[in-house]
Amino acid sequence: MGEFTIKKQSKKYDAIIVGSGAGGGMAAYILANAGLKVCIIEAGAMYDPQKNITQLKNPWESPRRGASTKHRPFGDFDACYWGWEIDGEPYTKETGTQWDWWRARMLGGRTNHWGRISLRFGPKDFKRKSIDGLGDDWPIGYEDIKPFYDRVDKLIGVFGTNEGLENDPDGFFLPPPKPRLHELFIKKAATTAGVKIIPSRLSILTKPINNERGSCQFCGQCNRNCSYWKADFSSTNVLIYPALKTGNVDIIPNAMAREVLTNDEGLATGVSYINKDDMMEYQVTGRTVIVAASACESARLLLNSKSQRHPNGLANSSNVVGKYLHDSTGAALGGILPELFDRKRYNEDGVGGMHIYSPWWLDNKKLDFPRGYHIEYWGGMSQPAYGFGWDIQYQNGKYAVHGKQKQPGGYGASLKEDYRFFYGAGVGMAGRGEALALESNYCAIDPNVVDKYGIPVLKFNVKWSEHEIKQAKHMKETFKEIMHNMGAIITWGGDDDASNNYGLESPGKIIHEAGTVRMGNDAKKSALNKHSQAHDCKNLFCVDGGQFVSQADKNITWTILALSMRASEYIIDEMKKQNL
């Protein structure tokens, strides 16, 4: 045997799924329950929420008191492994462009820590070009995906209210939690400003929906994943581990996919990967290959899968793979609400996230930017963590404490009084908007750089357009009006202007990347057909954010789940018809 060998597994699967987040998890769940043999290739570590626990920990149980590290950029108790940078796995950016790339490396991916904001796209969101002439329409409409949204609502569970809104469709909702104190203030202030407020829509069980999962215990820690009650949606708790119970699923963790393998006819035959633990090369074979590695990783895998039949990368005869990359826009500001100084203490953890939100409430035809945004809110008495009490001088030097104006800063018993006095008075808000999916915003293989596994890396080339910047300006104006109406004082994010794009976050920062393997009816302008199936390779599918034509002003997870369910059932059907 030579020093470099490739180990081929003899078992042939019905489906090989690359990635185990929302898209991969749903595909595994549907296919395994239909009796198909499934292999999941996951680039990160195994993770079992029942054993790997960060929920209900106190700040002093972390020696860094919950501070973030490169391993957990959202704090030491957050459930997600890795994030903005991964040792040995670089990516590059074209000079003068921006992209921050979040990569979860664990079973279940980022669904283990996400915000659980579960919004259906509305009828208009699939047909934006027909409305404003920009971008492209999807090859499907709301009516095509509605039955799958309905089933996702029932299978996974989501709370909210049916409001009869045209572009924020009704669903099958569990009852939402009552607003917290600061949310009542926000509701009043926003309503005065003409901004609509409705109960938020989060995939958290306020009532049990089956015997497998419990209901929410209101610890406010969904970002740590619900180890104890499985009351929020993560791919691990709700899809992967239940799918494993069928006996039809094998998981290969720490496996970094290198290429999708194809045969002389151009059909997918399997996936080659490197095992990160033993650094050996492996191959698995299957009837179908489903990529769900995240929009950018899926694009990277396809672009790296070159063959005689697919010289431009797999599913890329159209040359669109990697293009139309877009993230949600984001801008935020925050401050304090003096009415809440010296407030009474009680447990207001609630669910992990806001109890109310603002769906897009205006008509873009009357505005100078084409797409909308929704608003998320926060505030109140949360668990202290690293950073608590920072720069008290800007509070105790500015506001009277118990009627007494002090000098800034200080020390001693008087200072302790100040920390207590100001605790729980914070409020803030953030907009999450639709960015235009532009052909000129893309990721491509960097011809010069490989990662530690020898896999060519992505180079990003993304810039915001005027549309997103104008939208951020509008967000900031709206937020200021709400804060003013509430009597809140803005302490950060209030001075943004044209010089910093009104505080618009750099693209990638909101971690809703989509569009890189988009679907369409025209094989010259899209990688996938309306069934998430590659135009160029009928047994190859993409079921993550890559397939999106546009991503609306809504978080994309619920649509990934619905599309993955739809594609998976199409696969089962096509296999029955012997088309695959």
Partner: protein, 236 residues
């Protein structure tokens, strides 16, 4: 104290020499938990995190014994025991600071430099290092650096100022601001501090809305729609 006298104190004074010698010694006391298992009992960690943590704690402590003694005196001036809760020392805030500077290395220079700045000031004034000063002298020194000057906008957007820093004290003020931040964060994330704040969460709970007396206090009420559509639980 005039300048010549302070230079003399630095060169010849026992106080100055004792600080400088002590500053070179490494601490024999452990400033943070030795093993991963002690530090993260039961908290999920991936293998790369364990390796990174073990590497940090295997390194020698950053602060010298003298520096740690100074931090300990200062932390109890910032957060002393009062009628509600214990002191920063009771909450072992210095142990947290001893660890976090090894992880967040950007904190090292401002803290080390600030501590030495403080000692030099005390040597000039009292011919003693800060910890060797009596309580009155320590508080005189602290009062010169504990009250920063801030600038802010009032509700009408006018620029306002509060506080006044003596000449040549701004470096000390910056140091004290940083130390106050770290001590406050360390204290209010400790068991004693969380209890002091009255944070009542991190437990299994039934969220039934804002308590009635609080709604009344702020003149707020849930709408009929909210009461009808939201989840509610029987009062226990």
């Amino acid at each position: 104290m005039d300048r010549r006298k302070s230079i003399k104190a630095l060169v010849l004074g026992t106080a100055a020499s004792s600080i400088l010698i002590d500053a070179c010694k490494t601490s024999a006391d452990k400033q943070n938990p030795a093993t991963f298992a002690d530090a993260f009992a039961g908290l999920d960690r991936m293998k790369e995190e364990k390796a990174a943590y073990n590497k940090i704690v295997a390194e020698p402590d950053f602060f010298t014994k003298h520096e740690m003694k100074t931090i300990t005196v200062l932390q109890d001036i910032i957060i002393p025991k009062d009628a509600v809760s214990g002191s920063a020392s009771d909450a072992k805030v210095h142990e947290f600071i001893g660890y976090i500077v090894k992880e967040k290395t950007e904190l090292q220079t401002p803290l080390r430099g600030g501590l030495r700045w403080l000692d030099l000031q005390c040597v000039k004034r009292y011919e003693k290092s800060f910890v060797e000063c009596d309580n009155k002298q320590q508080m005189e020194m602290v009062d010169d650096i504990a009250w920063p000057e801030i600038e802010y906008k009032d509700e009408k957007g006018n620029i306002k100022k509060n506080g006044k820093v003596k000449p040549n004290m701004q470096q000390g003020v910056n140091f004290f601001n940083l130390l106050r931040n770290l001590v406050a964060t360390g204290f209010y994330t400790s068991e004693i501090g969380v209890k002091d704040l009255g944070y009542a969460g991190n437990v299994s709970n039934r969220w039934n809305g804002v308590p009635d007396d609080v709604l009344k206090q702020y003149g707020l009420a849930y709408t009929e729609k909210e009461l009808k559509e939201c989840v509610s639980f029987e009062k226990i």
